[in-house]
């Protein structure tokens, strides 16, 4: 048995080490290790509860608005104002979160993941590809190619034409993700870390001009998603269709649901639009409602005192860097004791099975074309495909939300903050499903717990020795060249890990 280690895993958010035990060329065991701890849950204690909005966003610079959304829902719950948020406030929160999804998904496909499949040198074989790609080709001819090169050696199968398209879209995608941030900033002041989401809604009343500017940007973004991102993702998974058989992980998938305009702060599993929640099992293709009391975080193999383990309303975070048997700063969340995969693949399968017409119609078409089944979403290729389809779905939903805004009408509820309260905020986030739990005492934060998407996906083993989803997805993988473990890197990146989120 030999060990293959990838440390650091680059082109993700944050600090991740992957260790694998390999026999022959097959991975027998894997350990996923989050290697940065900052202590947000401790830093939040004793502060003004409203500050949680601004501070929890800083957990993550890629998906801060997901934390702003979860935090605002938790505070609205704790303050008893969740039914008082005006329609503009809810719409704006959805628009901002949607824009954050688009930014994050485009960034992941092109700027984080694409270099696992794409050898940019291929563009030097093609001439006259437009000024941006020509500049890239010229750059690659005349320099060492940093930061794009060097890459692992491996099977870069995409020919010069597709490679050129992907390089063009890598560069154009930088602008598209920027436009998504601009769209968000129209309502949220700036990105990363918006200054708009607050308990009760959003600080800024929408104006006619804001709506026009948002619509115009969304049109450009949708055009890119429809004509470049989704077709590009399809082309990539067609070229790598064997990767529908690589990186399958655990059998249970979880999503609380998000983007609703009513039933805020609950787990609405039957709302007409948005991302529906549920627990999906590959054993019987059944979907159940989520029971949030069944979530626990275990710390047997995480650097925390045992007192940190349990339901998020019942525990406080207490790090222990010397803990025996621990190998990660990520806790191990479990649903009814089971590890669960979260993220776009989970959501596509859950929404398909729940009868979300939009998702079902488009997935049927894609599955027919690629000759795959629903379960194939949970694979390296499937995760990229699911993320691209979800990106299109959210952009289409955003069009309606922007049109529904009422210029000049209030966007925030006025309230007096109570001294005591408890609150829960759950939402969809780009990388999966997100929950914040707060306890307020004497007007200050008494406890704050976050169970974040990548906490689920990158979790270490639990007390029963069951691996987390990324670890499970690595087991059974064949690594052709131990010095260039590109198969393992592709599996890990297909989850779009966000380690600053996972540990916080």
């Amino acid at each position: 048995m030999k060990q293959i280690t990838i440390d650091p895993v680059t082109r993700i958010e944050g600090h991740l080490k992957i260790e694998t035990d390999v026999e022959g060329d097959e991975v027998k065991a894997a350990r996923s290790s989050g290697t940065l701890f900052r202590g947000f849950e401790q830093i939040l204690v004793g502060r003004d509860p409203r500050d949680a909005q601004r501070i929890t966003q800083r957990v993550c610079g890629v998906c801060p608005t997901a934390h702003a959304t979860a935090s605002s829902l938790a505070l609205e719950d704790a303050f008893g104002i969740k039914d008082e948020v005006p329609p503009n406030g809810r719409l704006i929160k959805n628009i901002m979160l949607g824009a954050n999804f688009i930014q994050s998904h485009v960034l992941h496909f092109y700027h984080l993941a694409a270099l696992d499949y794409l050898d940019p040198e291929r563009v030097t074989e093609v001439t006259e590809c437009g000024p941006q790609v020509d500049a890239l080709a010229n750059f690659l001819r005349n320099t060492d190619g940093a930061p794009f090169e060097p890459q692992y050696e491996g099977d870069y199968r995409l020919g010069p034409e597709i490679s050129t398209d992907l390089c063009r879209d890598y560069l154009d995608g930088l602008d598209i993700r920027k436009k998504a941030h601009e769209l968000l900033a129209l309502f949220g002041a700036k990105m990363p870390h918006n200054m708009g989401t607050v308990p009760g809604g959003s600080t800024k009343k929408p104006e006619v001009g804001t709506i026009e500017k948002a619509e115009a940007r969304l049109k450009e973004i949708s055009c890119f998603i429809n004509n470049r991102y989704l077709p590009g993702a399809l082309a990539l998974v067609e070229a790598y269709d064997d990767y529908f058989e690589v990186g399958q992980g655990v059998d249970t998938f979880l999503e609380y649901g998000g983007f609703y305009l009513d039933k805020v702060g609950e787990v609405p599993q039957d709302a007409p639009v948005g991302l529906l929640g549920g627990v999906f099992s590959l054993d019987d293709y059944g979907v159940e409602d989520v029971d949030l009391s069944e979530i626990t975080e275990e710390v047997t193999h995480s650097w925390y005192a045992e007192s940190t383990a349990g339901h998020p309303t019942k525990v406080k975070t207490s790090p222990d860097a010397d803990k025996e048997g621990a190998y990660s700063w990520v806790k191990a969340p479990r649903y009814r004791g089971q590890p669960c995969e979260v993220g776009p693949a989970a959501r596509i399968m859950i929404n398909y099975s729940r009868g979300n017409e939009y998702i079902k119609g488009r997935m049927d078409e894609i599955m027919g074309k690629l000759d795959i089944g629903l379960k194939d979403c949970a694979s390296v290729a499937g995760r990229h495909l699911a993320r691209a389809l979800e990106c299109k779905y959210i952009a289409d939903l955003m069009k309606d939300w922007i049109e529904e805004l009422e210029p000049g009408a209030p966007s925030v509820a006025k309230y007096d903050m109570p001294d005591e309260g408890t609150g829960m905020g759950v939402t969809s986030a780009p990388r999966g499903t997100l929950g914040h739990w707060i306890e307020v005492k004497d007007g200050e934060i008494e406890n704050y717990q976050m169970v974040v998407p990548t906490t689920w996906n990158a979790s270490p083993r639990d007390g029963k020795g069951r691996p987390g989803p990324i670890e499970q997805a690595l087991i059974g993988t064949r690594i052709e060249d131990g010095d260039n473990p590109i198969e393992a890197a592709r599996i890990v990146r297909s989850f779009d890990p966000c380690m600053a989120c996972a540990v916080h």
């Binding site: 440390d7 082109r11 290697t35 610079g61 930088l174 920027k178 010397d322 966007s411 006025k414």
Partner: protein
């Protein structure tokens, strides 16, 4: 690229960070990120981004080899994103079996300068907030502790707006390291951070006319709902964010002072007005 270009290697390290500073730089507009990577940053000067975990093609050992090679070649700038955790021998932040504290100690001595991007690297930021569970410190504090005299330039903000970073980088590339006369007392370029938000605030007239917001959502001057603009130096009102599209106060949200040392502790509660003592203390610091 012709040979008369001056090309400066950049090693971008990440400590206790959320990657928000890197993501913010990706929002740079004229120059775009693609211009910064592929073309010139300033006339006759370009950068070569050798190491940056967020974007680089290499991963694992290959990425660390790239880092060692760039350090051995010398003549580079270090960009430090994120605070430096020093508790538990730095084990709160590890990269390739090495603490980020050691990573910075190894890279900094050979660097022309360390550019601390973001409030975490510049002053400790949120990771250093009470009770500072990881004993996080700024890059400059770490270098001082280690006796490394490489000069530091601070580009704070949570995150900094991309032009604040690009201006700071371009200034170093054009004119070399800024002298003490170009920097304020917390290590920032005066040309970028030299003005008080309150002095340039578009709601200054509301302040003077006594038109104050009493609740979040009200229009008017936001000092009564906690705006820290009177104590904060940043070009937000002049430049805006996203090419002037919006910024906190324009969006009716009080400034939370994310560019200043002591953020978040000294700036919180974000939605409460300072009492007279805190206000006095902040004004004292400004002088």
């Amino acid at each position: 690229m012709d040979n008369e270009q001056e090309c400066c290697s950049v090693i971008w390290l990440q400590g206790a960070t959320c990657t928000g500073c890197a993501i913010s730089l990706m929002n740079s507009n004229y120059p775009r990120l693609s211009n910064l990577l592929l073309d010139e940053v300033v006339p006759g000067g370009s950068i070569s981004l050798k190491f940056m975990a967020t974007l680089m093609g290499a991963t694992g050992d290959l990425a660390l080899e790239v880092l060692s090679r760039a350090e051995a070649e010398g003549d580079y700038l270090v960009v430090m994103e994120g605070a430096v955790p020093t508790g538990e021998d730095g084990r709160y932040c590890m990269v390739g079996e090495k603490s980020v504290a050691d990573q910075l100690s190894e890279a900094a001595p050979g660097a022309r300068a360390v550019v601390s991007v973001g409030t975490c690297a510049a002053y400790g930021g949120i990771p250093a907030g009470e009770p500072n569970p990881t004993e996080a410190i700024s890059a400059a504090e770490h270098l001082e502790t280690e006796g490394i005299d490489t000069p530091c330039l601070n580009v704070p903000g949570c995150p900094p707006e991309p032009s604040w970073f690009v201006d700071s980088l371009a200034t170093v590339m054009l004119f070399g390291l800024p002298g003490p006369e170009d920097l304020d007392d917390v290590g920032r370029l005066k040309s970028v951070y030299g003005e008080l938000i309150h002095d340039n605030c578009p709601r200054r007239a509301d302040f003077q006319n006594g038109h104050y917001a009493r609740h979040i959502g009200d229009e008017g001057c936001l000092v009564e709902v906690g705006c820290k603009g009177p104590y904060v130096n940043a070009p937000c009102p002049n430049r805006g964010w996203h090419e002037g599209l919006n910024w906190a106060i324009k969006n009716n949200h009080p400034c939370i002072g994310c560019v200043e040392p002591g953020f978040p502790d000294l700036m919180g509660p974000f939605f409460e007005k300072y009492g007279p003592e805190e206000s006095e203390e902040m004004y004292r610091r400004l002088k």
